[in-house]
């Protein structure tokens, strides 16, 4: 089935919009929309404005709750636009997939140290639940590409997760 959703990049980054996205990726991919799908930021007007204020001037930024935003995109909202889609967590990525979003490749750009996590890459720290969520995404055919900024080396995350299983 052809979906109306086309994205330049779907990225997990716990900082949402910041320099690596607004300068690094937006500079390379030339989006006209940065769509943030995040329940927490969408619910809080102050947080929503803060996230959007970090967006480059020539790009529009929007923050939606994960489910509403996914349905909006799936029903053709922003069809024809050049979109960078940003998520805060792997749990959000799973929800995206569960809602039928055509997710073939996922960029992992920044999940920083937190309680119970360990380093898989300098900018990818995962706790056991996140490892499971990423494994599940890989099993469902999502290519997991860790890369902080364009031009830096990218890593296939799935084998790194596998090595942790033993």
């Amino acid at each position: 089935m052809n979906s109306p959703v086309r994205t330049l990049l779907v990225r997990i980054d716990d900082r949402l919009i910041h320099g690596q996205v607004s300068i690094g990726w937006a500079g390379r991919l030339n989006p006209d929309f940065i769509v943030v799908l995040d329940d927490e930021a969408a619910r809080d007007a102050w947080e929503n404005e803060l996230v959007c204020s970090a967006c480059p001037e020539k790009v529009k930024a929007e923050v939606h709750p994960v489910e509403e935003g996914t349905r909006m995109l799936l029903s053709g909202g922003h069809a024809g636009h050049r979109i960078i889609l940003l998520l805060r967590s792997v749990a959000s990525a799973r929800r995206l997939l569960d809602l039928g979003f055509p997710l073939s490749e996922l960029n992992i750009g920044g999940l920083h140290h937190h309680a119970g996590s360990r380093a898989f890459l300098p900018y990818v720290y995962l706790d056991p639940a996140e490892v499971e969520d990423f494994r599940s995404l890989a099993t469902r055919g999502v290519r997991l590409v860790a890369q902080d900024v364009p031009g830096n080396r990218s890593f296939d995350l799935a084998p790194l997760l596998g090595a942790e299983a033993g």
Binding site: H18, G19, A54
Partner: protein, 134 residues
């Protein structure tokens, strides 16, 4: 001495080693500034950086000036989150050496608001083409 009776307190927050290196460089020119705290985004989650900035503001009191490297960057966003519940905090983005030297040398003479005006003007005027290519 400024009207608050103490030098305007400051915190530097920047990517990588920039804050620490900028402070070291400024100190080598203008003398030591032991109370100027440097924070980096490296090895800190965004909320952790916000908490650390918030704690440093609380230690220094209202009117603390947070100097960050890049408007819209993660350090700036973290500072804005910390300042959400600390409304007297000032945040200035786009720090450079001229601006920092001005901040450090004038913060005993000016109150926070005047100091910010003065140092941002210095920051702007310090950015110039000193010789155009021929």
């Amino acid at each position: 001495m400024n009207p608050e009776g103490r030098p305007v307190p400051g915190i530097l927050v920047a990517h990588g080693r920039l804050a620490a290196e900028l402070k070291l460089t400024a100190e080598s020119i203008g003398g030591p500034a032991p109370d100027l705290l440097c924070l980096s985004n490296v090895d800190r989650r965004p909320e952790e950086l916000s908490e650390d900035i918030g704690a440093a503001i609380d230690e220094r009191g209202p009117g603390t000036v947070v100097l960050v490297d890049l408007a819209g960057g993660s350090c700036c966003t973290a500072a804005l989150r910390a300042a959400r519940t600390r409304p007297k905090t000032v945040i200035v983005a786009g720090i450079n050496l001229a601006l920092l030297l001005d901040f450090l040398s004038k913060r005993e003479d000016y109150a926070s608001a005047e100091l910010v005006t003065h140092m941002t003007e210095r920051g702007h005027s310090g950015l110039k083409v000193v010789k155009a290519g021929e």
